[in-house]
């Protein structure tokens, strides 16, 4: 699985890194592809996560201000860390997407008073992840 580390989050920059770790891991999984019924959905989700990754990178570059320097001391990133040892690709995808729903929802709330544009992105991502989970479970 991807080189991503999902390490602890001690500032908003590392929160954003945690987000991109999620997106890169998902992208790699979906790009590997699968045969059978999930193939088309994996291809679509690869495109979606690529777009999201680009959006996060752009947000890192253009939307962050001095507030991101505020230290974060009460964010337990461990609870969002996905189990990357699931061999079935669809089950792995569901694990990732569900963890992302939880992560983006919480991060969106945290960003709300700091940077609303980032908060909105996370809120939108969480909703998308919910949709992805439904589609994966319907396979």
């Amino acid at each position: 699985m991807a080189k991503c580390e999902f390490s602890e989050c001690s500032n908003f920059g590392s929160l954003l890194r945690f987000s991109t770790d999620f997106e890169e891991t998902a992208l790699e999984l979906y790009q590997k592809g699968v045969s059978g019924a999930a193939a088309e959905l994996f291809s679509t989700l690869a495109q979606k996560h690529k777009k999201r990754l680009d959006e996060l990178e752009l947000a890192r570059r253009e939307k962050l201000r001095e507030e991101i320097l505020e230290p974060i001391t009460d964010f337990d990133s461990k609870k969002y860390k996905p189990n990357l040892n699931i061999s079935d690709p669809v089950k792995m995808a569901i694990e990732l997407e569900e963890k992302m729903v939880q992560f983006y929802t919480d991060v969106s709330n945290r960003w709300k008073t700091i940077q609303r544009e980032i908060s909105r992105i996370c809120e939108r991502f969480a909703k998308q992840n919910e949709d992805f989970v439904s589609k994966l479970k319907a396979l």
Binding site: N11, S14, P71
Partner: protein, 494 residues
């Protein structure tokens, strides 16, 4: 977390950029450029001779006429190209800054963003530089126009704390308005600007329009005294800002010099404390306290505010992660050099000697793997009296003085006792206090529930009292006005 890769381990001997070419420096001496986290030498910077300044000024002067005649819209196009190249190299710029200056990577990325924003703002020159006129303004049948014109060659003398951004408060506006320019980067952190000049070289400026020379204060003196230079922009400490202002003025130049600061962050009892503390931690310890907008004095008003904010602040400061800035989890990097560290440690000792209570001591901090780095941990003094050295002088490091005041008026009096007037902030939910604060406080940058009052590119970077010498500030319309003059034309057709 793994470290982000450095752009290069070593950048070798740096050159100067004159007349659109990289040239070997005419220098007898090269200084070491040191990574403050590792204490390793990562480049050599030339102490360029005064003779080579003549070459740079001549090139800039010669380029001026053709550049001035280049339509503003065409000049703006070069800046659009510059923006694109900076965007492509955004991450490299940030990492080099961290490597040579020490700041945490997200701080460096923030600086890279603000650097680019100044280029974006300067591309609006076709609007910002428009003059004005009045038909029959002089008399019936006689029209009057005010034309805004460039002046010639300007120069910037830059500090160590923002290796990229500060030069960009000036030069994009100068060249957008038709002037030519010379940048002298800080000799402590020249690599970032040298890298940026590699990008400038690709942007399409005609030779001589933008130039860079590396060197020491002797080179700065040569710029101030040179008859071919129309004006000087400087950012640094107050004694040097004053010197640059006086010396450059003596030689008939336009001058704007930004000096030091001692910024107070006032906390009222009705502040939203958790968010206030988080924001203040970023203000006091961001860039390891090495910026003129950093908080220095924490001023709780009344016992209730004190009892809530101080324990939370100390607790928060203890959790700040100190390390190499290329680790994305680092909250605070080293100070810029071992010399800076020694100076800051001297201030801490002075605080102890003068009777302040050291409640958080950052002196002994060890960063595993970086034992030779110039690290100082978050440091806090309580029971600081306004007349103590640590309450008055600019420390430029991660040292906070807590000075309790009994009332809002006392807090404002404390701010006004300082010779500096760079920034001040208040944390409150009370509109009346907030309004009074912004109205009464004599400082160029005021924060209401914001601890780092960094003006965006399209606003001037303010400063009152001994924090600024001059009339027009850097950035935005002020910069446009600094780099131009108004020519009045009265026309009568016979």
């Amino acid at each position: 977390m793994a470290l982000l890769p450095e752009v290069k381990k070593n950048y070798g001997a740096l050159k100067n950029y004159i007349n659109g070419e990289w040239v070997e420096a005419d220098a007898d001496k090269y200084n070491d450029v040191v990574n403050p986290a590792t204490n390793e030498v990562i480049a050599k910077v030339p102490m360029t001779s005064k003779k080579q300044i003549d070459e740079a000024v001549s090139a800039a002067n010669e380029a001026w006429e053709a550049w001035r005649e280049t339509p503003p819209v065409t000049r703006a196009r070069v800046l659009f190209k510059m923006k694109e190249i900076l965007e492509q190299n955004y991450e490299n710029i940030a990492r080099i800054m961290t490597q040579e200056q020490g700041k945490a990577i997200d701080e460096a990325r923030g600086e890279a963003r603000r650097t680019i924003e100044n280029v974006e703002c300067a591309t609006s020159v076709t609007t910002l530089m428009m003059g004005y006129n009045l038909e029959d303004g002089a008399a019936s049948g006689i029209d009057e126009d005010a034309v805004i014109s460039p002046l010639g060659t300007f120069a910037a003398i830059c500090p160590f704390n923002f290796p990229a951004m500060i030069a960009f408060w000036f030069w994009p506006y100068a060249v957008a308005t038709g002037n030519t320019y010379i940048v002298k980067p800080s000799r402590q952190v020249p690599i970032t600007m040298n890298y940026i000049f590699e990008l400038i070289d690709q942007a399409g400026f005609p030779p001589g329009v933008v130039n860079m020379v590396n060197g020491s204060h002797e080179l700065a003196d040569a710029l101030m005294e040179h008859p071919g230079i129309k004006g000087i922009s400087f950012v640094g400490s107050t004694p040097i800002a004053k010197y640059v202002y006086e010396n450059s003025s003596k030689y008939g130049k336009r001058v704007q010099t930004q000096g030091g600061a001692k910024n107070s962050l006032v906390v009222m009892e009705d502040a939203v404390m958790d968010k206030t503390v988080a924001n203040m931690l970023a203000s006091f310890y961001g860039c390891t306290g090495q910026r003129c907008l950093a908080g220095a004095n924490l001023v709780p008003v009344g016992k209730k505010a004190y009892d809530i904010v101080v324990p939370k602040f100390i607790e928060g400061a203890k959790k700040i992660r100190v390390g190499y800035g290329l680790d994305e989890n680092t909250n605070m990097g080293p100070v810029v050099s071992q010399a800076a560290k020694k100076k800051i440690l001297g201030y801490i000792q002075k605080g102890i000697d003068e009777g302040a209570k050291l409640v958080l001591d950052g002196r002994g901090i060890k960063v595993p793997g970086y034992e030779n780095g110039a690290f100082i941990g978050p440091t806090i003094f309580e029971d600081v009296a306004p007349d103590m050295t640590i309450a008055k002088e600019e420390i430029f490091g991660p040292v906070v003085s807590i000075i309790e005041r009994d009332s809002f008026d006392d807090a404002i009096d404390l701010i006004h006792q300082s010779p500096f007037g760079n920034a001040a902030s208040i944390y409150t939910q009370n509109g009346r206090w907030a309004r009074d604060f912004r109205y009464r406080v004599q400082a160029g940058n005021i924060g209401i529930n914001i601890g780092i009052v960094a003006a965006m590119a399209y606003f001037p970077f303010g400063g009152y009292k001994d924090s600024f010498f001059g009339t027009l500030h850097g950035q935005g319309k002020d910069a446009i006005n600094f780099f131009t003059d108004r020519k009045v034309v009265i026309t009568r057709w016979l």
